[in-house]
């Protein structure tokens, strides 16, 4: 059951001379849902960008050979009148040109009606665009999906359903999931592993074990659980 999909050892990233990530080590098993949490600017998105090879890093990132990755970015900046339809956007995928059938399947897997194929992507709402991005990411049947949650722009109800959707996709497609989340209820409900980042790695393990009040106040610098904060300060 526990086949390792990804192994990260001593990952370190510098951007413009400043260390934005250090000492990050974790592994992901097939079927895992790993949630990455941490305050703003803690290097969560940078970790994803290192995983897809978009930034230089030191240390080791090892995917099991042949593992395909799907990536859902936090946001993409589109001009509203960008002349490109959803269908054409799907066809930009490098892995073999998807046919009509694949495009319809991809749309229905994220619960969008077939009529979305001919809509220009610039005209979609934030929630619709996010679904389209998820559909895009799973188009080549990846085994590992990286999902970067938008900080704003999608409402709470929309956010709930996107996680329901990811959960469903994970069951149907035997997906392994790494998600960046800002919402601890999401982490408790959908993740079986959690990685806490604040430039350095603060914790890694099962949510119930590592998301203790002490751990959280260390991670978020005392924003949550004031009395625990005083306590943990004495310890450090």
């Amino acid at each position: 059951m526990s086949e390792t999909i990804l192994e990260v050892k001593n990952l370190q990233v510098e951007l413009g001379g400043a260390k934005v990530l250090e000492n990050v080590s974790f592994s992901v098993q097939a079927g895992d849902s790993l949630a990455i949490i941490g305050p703003n600017g803690s290097g969560k998105t940078t970790l994803f960008r290192a995983l897809i090879g978009a930034v230089d890093y030191e240390g080791e990132i090892k995917f099991t050979p042949g593992v395909k990755i799907g990536y859902v970015p936090q946001k993409i900046d589109l001009e509203r009148d960008l002349p490109i339809t959803v269908e054409e956007f799907f066809k930009l995928k490098s892995t073999a040109l998807p046919g009509k059938k694949h495009i319809q399947e991809a749309l229905s897997s994220v619960k969008l009606s077939p009529s979305y194929a001919v809509k220009p992507i610039g005209a979609l709402s934030a929630g619709e665009l996010q679904r389209v991005l998820v559909a895009w990411a799973i188009l080549g049947n990846p085994r590992l999906l990286l999902f970067d949650e938008p900080t704003a722009s999608v409402d709470v109800a929309g956010q709930e359903t996107i996680y329901e959707l990811l959960h469903e996709l994970q069951d149907q497609r035997d997906l392994t999931l790494i998600l960046i989340s800002h919402d601890l209820t999401v982490v408790y409900r959908y993740a079986n592993r959690v990685l806490c980042l604040n430039k350095a790695q603060i914790c890694f393990g099962a949510p119930k074990e590592v998301l203790t009040p002490e751990g959280l106040s260390k991670l978020y610098g005392g924003e949550r659980g004031f009395y625990h904060h005083l306590h943990s300060e004495k310890l450090t």
């Binding site: 897809i52 978009a54 970015p73 993409i76 002349p83 490109i84 339809t85 054409e88 892995t95």
Partner: protein, 256 residues
Amino acid sequence: MTELGLTQILIAGAFIAAAGGLLGSFALLRRMALVGDALSHVALPGIALGLLFNFNVLLGSVAFLVAGTLGIWLVEHKTKLPVDTVVGVFFTLSLAAGALLTPEEEILEALFGDISKLSVFDFWWALALSATIIYLLLHFSRRFVLALISTDLSRSEGFHPHRLELLFLLLFAFAVAVGIKFAGALLMGSLIIIPAATSRNLTVSMGSYLFMSAFLGVAGAILGIFGARFYGFSPGPLFVLVLGAFFLASIFFRRK
């Protein structure tokens, strides 16, 4: 050198305009519309040297544009300045050098171009370069579009946005080099901007946007060349005016 007949001039004009229109459709999406205008000046020293030492000005402009483009790409990468800023530096320097070098009596032709004075050599070069530009743009179109939507998505697919950027700039340089023959350094930018801007007013899908840009360029070229022949004007400026008319008309047909 023998002068070419109307048919050849029309063919060359159509090819050049198709390449320029197609390239322009990508340039507009990348917000590089005015880069073509600026780049065209980078060719001026090459044109001037060609005129002075009697070699083909197309070769001179290609050489200067390719060198200039590589320079722009390297400086952009090194300094992280926006591409239009770097292009701005290069283009004003080239303009200054071109102004010093260009013989006074030839300056009009260098600035405005004249496709009706095409030599056989120019004809084949224009055809070969334009066809290459069109082929490469279409071949890499999916990668170019993905990179402009999101460089991270492009990287996650294993593409190299930085290399694509260089390829695009080089294609841009070639398009400008052949376009100068048609519309001259001053008006070259119109070939890149106007058909694509018009097409953007009219289309919602990428396929129709690219096709329409190229098509409008070709239509403008043919009308411009015929009109010039008929009324005895220079084809370049007339071509630009025809494109301008298309653009004005498109405003009223703008999709919702």
